[in-house]
Symmetry: C2
Subunit: 655 residues, 2 copies
């Protein structure tokens, strides 16, 4: 599948955008006219730059407000088109996007539009240019893809085809079945964008809130499969207008975009393979469709299932005493030091495992890695190695997966950057990659129960019913959509609907990434402030203001709380006002209410069950939560989150 | 008029919010329940704190999902209400907000609702509490204010009244005429919010985008006048959910809020006075209405008309040579040094005046001012005095107004902070205040033509047709709405619809504040990044990345450009691609196109006229624009702004 990206998706100058697209691995780009106009580079220089980078210039866009107009304006519009055709020749480009008329259309007459398209086609023929006509969702008269196709079909001109754009089609919720009517060779271009479910005017939605496939709420796999079914063989291109992407680092956005296309390609490939094998050898209906699909040359990825559990959470600390004391207070047992790395130790509570490392250790290892600075992946690794956060922070998460090698291979094919790591020859080889928030994601074989690598720390049996319930991560602003796609595409996690949680310093956007069985649950929180150093971990990271936490599930929260008290745990204090409100909201037994109050335990309830939990004080940018789930409660005590955020805010502003 | 503010409008803890509201000068607050629940202070402590600050606790809110339910749930809801009444007693509060049922209503029967309201009234009577019933715009069955009023009227209970909230009413575009039917004493509470015109679901609009009166698109003056006409005599309160306010400095937001109410109060007072005087002494219909209005005790402000012009722009510079060279190149003439302040000089081009100061000067003056740190106004001044920006930056603007004393008095009554300034005994007394972006706003009597204070610099006649056309200011994020209200309420400027301008590092939101005759035009630009030091001027301000500029209008831009070239001006370079696009867009004479290209002049045209303009290179965070307006063109060449932003971005990233 040939991949392409519109320059408007990326921040920076045109020259920077081309460089970023090429480095990420795109095959081509769409030139967004505005980017060229503001560039000091001539069209010839841009063409040369793209050629040198190995990028094809796939689409010149947008050409607007052309058709459905009176004769006089039409003549001016043709002249305008010719000027652009001349420009495209200088760029060596052969496909132009024509958007349905938004502003100047006055004639809603198919015959007039068809005639005007045909005359544009004649002109385009002289320049060897193809024109891809697209229905904008807010077009004056033409706003549906099938209407645009009907007009193109009627124009019946070899230089006039259609452009399908998932945003304009899916935002209007148009029936998709007529896509199958369009011969693939009459689809001159394909643009993809996803979008979150928002109820707002479609123009604002389009201009500010598009995201890459996999980051929104639409089924782009189905959409691409339908287009592939027509025999379309051209580039599959991203066209995303997004306020955050416009501000984010160009190179990261480009990598994020390519990941979305690789993921989508593999999804369609897998779905198509499944259909083909279901059809068997017989002459199934749709065999022609399969061969059509093959024209896009869809490449698969190693398939992964969602993780079966959390192997461990790794915390880095420069305050070993405080951290291990708190683990002990929470009922964790010290398993041992790593047999060859004395600065690494393992703690466990049932199946909840915390690896504690001292921060200098990885630093020493990493600087030994040879960095090839021309490879951006290595560069990212170098940056990570150069700035190992100080303080106490969440460094990484180990996921238990069916096939760690496949997961790692998939991650690398999805442009993730490998974590440089030294391994002794007789150790379990754990490999991993950096997540968008700078944390490390490691893949281990198994189901999360007593993974083999723990032998390297010694053996401490622990049959208690306890495990990691969820891990709450702080995400840097502007990299939130990237994070959703990262966990979706690498780990097959699912994004649950997002929530806004009020805190004293702003709303915290919270979205849970979860496996279907709940074995892996990770609320991602985006803090309202823009951290000065958003991609490092430790000091200066978003977690400084909105600390991250690891939640441990137990089977009796009161026992856990009492044991913790006996060991001197500092709980996050819960206001008395909270308990009074709790009494008003729920018809709780006074005895239960009293016990909750006594132990600083928070409470929530829904139709499915109950949730009891308490928080520890924060060490560095990490704290712990102990939870007990009763019945089939699936949430995270969201109504109680503001209590926690306010208490932590007081701690921040007081200190 | 008694002013109040809901604690949810402000960032911080409940204790911080109360402090900020009192310091700003509010008479009371609404306690937003969530703020109390997360507070470690008991209700008695909060009541004491408020009393000590001189704040009344006007409304406990919100109580939700009460009415229109089956009997069993109703009993639980009554118990829930009683718990809150008990809490309110401890707070010493007497009015509770009841929102129309959103989640649990199942019975859409007036008689049931009326009966349930009445029973709530009986319970409230026992605690001496009034319940204000409000229709939420997204209420399940009750979503219109007049329906809520009909139910309250039918309940006919002394403890049950209604609450009017401008957001819930104006967002639904409900006919306002029935407000006049409600007796003022049955309106138990009044909440005001403004909002920008957005086309989105009303719940998201309400939760994220409300603003203070004067910062949105609604006519709150008319709304408040209608409520005043009923004889309502209670607090006028702000209830604004806004993502930016939640992040902004608490004290500033509180001041901003109080300013909005003072401004609104004066508007209604003025409108009411105008009506009364129009009615004269006769027994005009609506005289009763006037006396009703008087019950709110609306205080006037000194009235101001919009400014008649710009007296001057003051630039501070530590690179005097570069700045004055550029002024000379642009055809400015040196008028002289200030007769007592040799570090201050005046330059003019026709009626365009630029005061140039060296940055240390004000600093020396200001530190001599005695700062009383218990007064927040003085504290702001102290901060401003302590951190005089370095570099070259726009320090202030002098506005020509009808009555400078009235303007200054109004500004101070609207909680603006006076700029500390020394004045010699025989000098023109210019007084001014700080704008939200840290720039200084000075008021001078006159019409902007040869103001008297210029005598202090000497006399250089200059009859050229030239003046300040517009001033483009960079606004710190999160203080944008505050800025709109500031210029609206202090200077009677009008906010034009906002636009988004793409730049290589994100969209720049741009909104023009203007006088009706165009004598004063100030585009306010909000940069996408959050500056680390957003409220200072000079180094570290938003203008660092998005420099500010002063545009000078002339009657022949080519002559101005040629003169500038002859004097060695460095123009902002315009890409050739721009001129090629211009040729495609407009049918320009080749000769004109050639001249534009030769002189780096940008061009725009609309139905009303033409706009020709060029930019200088940037010094510090300031550059200049020279413009020529042909015909009745009223814009600012917005289509060309991306060209400028891209060129400036290249300059930033290259340097």
């Amino acid at each position: 599948m040939r991949t392409s990206i519109a320059t408007v998706c990326l921040s920076g100058t045109l020259e920077e955008k081309l460089q970023a697209a090429a480095t990420a691995g795109f095959d081509g780009v769409e030139i967004f006219e505005q980017d060229l106009i503001v560039s000091p580079s001539s069209p010839e220089v841009i063409a040369g730059l793209a050629a040198g980078l190995g990028l094809s210039l796939d689409l010149y866009q947008p050409f607007r407000d052309f058709e459905g107009v009176e004769d006089e304006l039409f003549a001016a519009n043709l002249a305008r088109a010719e000027a652009k055709f001349q420009l495209m020749k200088r760029l060596g480009m052969t496909t132009m996007l024509l958007c349905s008329n938004v502003a100047t259309a006055t004639v809603d007459d198919d015959q007039v539009v068809v005639d005007q398209l045909r005359r544009l086609g004649d002109l385009a023929e002289r320049y060897g240019i193809d024109v891809a006509y697209e229905a904008l969702a807010w077009g004056r008269f033409v706003s549906e893809y099938d209407r645009a196709w009907d007009l193109v079909k009627a124009a019946d001109h070899p230089r006039i085809g259609t452009c399908l754009d998932s945003f304009h089609i899916l935002s209007r919720d148009t029936d998709l079945s007529r896509i199958a009517e369009i011969p693939g060779e009459k689809i001159f271009f394909l643009q993809l964008a996803d979008a979150p479910a928002l109820s707002m005017d479609v123009l604002s939605w389009s201009r500010h809130h598009r995201v890459f496939p996999g980051e929104g709420s639409w089924d782009l796999t189905d959409f691409l499969a339908r287009v592939a079914g027509t025999g379309y063989a051209g580039p599959v291109s991203l066209e995303v207008f997004n306020d955050s992407f416009r501000q984010a680092d160009t190179q990261r956005t480009a990598v994020d975009g390519l990941r979305s296309l690789r993921w989508l390609e593999a999804n369609v490939s897998a779905a198509s393979g499944a259909k083909a094998s279901a059809a068997g050898e017989a002459e199934a209906p749709g065999a022609g469709l399969e061969s059509n699909r093959a024209r896009l040359n869809l490449r698969p990825l190693p398939q992964v299932s969602e993780p079966r559990g959390i192997d461990y959470v790794e915390l880095s600390t420069d305050d070993l005493g405080a951290l291990t004391r708190q683990l002990h207070q929470l009922g964790f047992r010290f398993v041992g030091f790593h047999r060859t790395k004395p600065h690494v130790q393992l703690w466990r509570r049932g199946q909840a495992r915390i690896v504690v490392t001292e921060p200098t250790s990885r630093h020493y290892e990493s600087t030994a890695v040879t960095i090839d600075s021309t490879d951006p992946a290595d560069e990212a690794a170098a940056v990570a190695a150069d700035s190992p956060g100080s303080g106490t922070f969440l460094r990484g998460i180990g996921f238990a997966v069916d096939d760690a090698d496949a997961a790692m291979e998939r991650a690398l094919l999805l442009s993730a950057t490998e974590v440089p790591r030294d391994q002794a020859h007789d150790e379990e080889v754990l490999r991993g990659v950096f997540a968008p928030d700078g944390s490390e994601v490691f893949f281990g074989d198994g189901n999360g129960v007593d993974p083999q690598w723990t032998d390297e720390f010694g053996t401490v049996p622990d049959e208690r019913q306890s495990a990691i319930d969820h891990i709450n991560l702080a995400q840097p602003a502007h990299h939130y959509d990237e994070a959703v796609l990262f966990y979706t595409s690498l780990l097959a996690l699912t994004a649950l609907p997002s929530q806004d949680v009020p805190s004293p310093s702003g709303l915290v956007r919270s979205q849970v990434m979860s496996s279907a069985d709940g074995a892996v649950r990770m609320p991602l929180n985006v803090s309202p402030d823009h951290s000065p150093n958003p991609l490092s971990r430790g000091t200066g990271s978003p977690a400084e203001t909105y600390p991250e936490h690891v939640a441990i599930v137990c089977d009796d929260i009161f026992t856990a709380a009492m044991a913790a008290v006996a060991r001197g745990l500092k709980f996050l204090a819960v206001p008395q006002n909270y308990y009074e409100d709790l009494a008003a909201r729920f018809d709780l037994e006074p005895e239960l209410l009293g016990r909750l109050r006594e132990h600083n335990i928070l409470y929530d309830r829904d139709d499915r069950g109950e949730f009891l939990h308490f928080y520890t004080s924060t060490i560095g940018s990490v704290f712990f939560e102990m939870v007990e789930r009763r019945g089939d409660y699936q949430g995270y005590g969201a109504p109680n989150a503001p209590v926690r955020l306010a208490a932590q805010h007081r701690r921040n502003t007081e200190s």
